[in-house]
Point group: C2
Chain length 192, copies 2
Amino acid sequence: MKYCCYCSATLVIRIPEDDNRERYVCPDCETIHYRNPRIVAGCLPVYEDQVLLCKRSIEPRYGYWTLPGGYMELDETTLQAAKRETLEEANARVDVQMLYTVINLPHVNQVYMMYLSRLTDLDFSAGDESSEVRLFSEEQIPWDELAFMTIRQTLICYFRDRAAGRFLLHTGDIIREGKNYSYREELTVDRD
Amino acid sequence: MKYCCYCSATLVIRIPEDDNRERYVCPDCETIHYRNPRIVAGCLPVYEDQVLLCKRSIEPRYGYWTLPGGYMELDETTLQAAKRETLEEANARVDVQMLYTVINLPHVNQVYMMYLSRLTDLDFSAGDESSEVRLFSEEQIPWDELAFMTIRQTLICYFRDRAAGRFLLHTGDIIREGKNYSYREELTVDRD
């Protein structure tokens, strides 16, 4: 970021009054340009004992499998974003059951919010960003060809919870240490 | 938004290739300037039968009571953001127990994420954005002097759950219709 998007003046970096961290500030119009993490909303669509995955036809991770999801837009709710992405990427309709995973990726400033949902019919197909959409049983999941760790972790939680006979909200973080990434479960409370 | 923050060219509004909605696009450097909702993270700190509230010493809602919370910053997780805000606004330390309310405000493009937590000690005090910080029992809650509907709704959920003897994640939306705002519960599933 270099120029003010409102007046085109060259920005300076300084700590604004009543703040405690450096921001991009416009010396002319005095706008403080905050930057914040973004929400990725999506669904884990289930049909009987299978889950729906999409093969990505765009970068990053072209050709790898993912759950339908994408950036939450202005003027919508996280649930609306999750259902919209599911329709756009898989032409699939779902009944959403619960917010299921909330996973932070602080190294890329994203927060994933994935909703557990039931596929309402089998009339799905590849959307704009997918080359293929299909159902997988647990044994068929292409674990080595999943696009993102958030998707892998959401599927791990799902099959583990399904085996245990109850579904809990899972919150956690994917943390980068050097070249390695690990999942750190945060607060999942089993209330049983 | 009028100018490109990377090259200062005047932006145009158009639908980028492979997209389905209008964006601010730079005709010179071709950057697409996405805009997305922001996360407000905070805590509901509990001590015995009381909850901690902060009296705001800043606008908006100067002089009204709120739970500690604020915009999630880059390079942190939602939980870290909630604990940081609790420390900054109330000089208070908490043991966080669970993600408790997730409330969308699509008319202002915010998503509140409030964590239920236990106050670890009574050594709290007004932080930079508060004029007073104190504990309230249910009977003492200043319902008519609360700063935001998200705070009101989180407290309503808390006292209702406490009476019922179990705490569930609550997800919902605050929707504006004309001049009125209403809370719409989304998906709270009682698994008992």
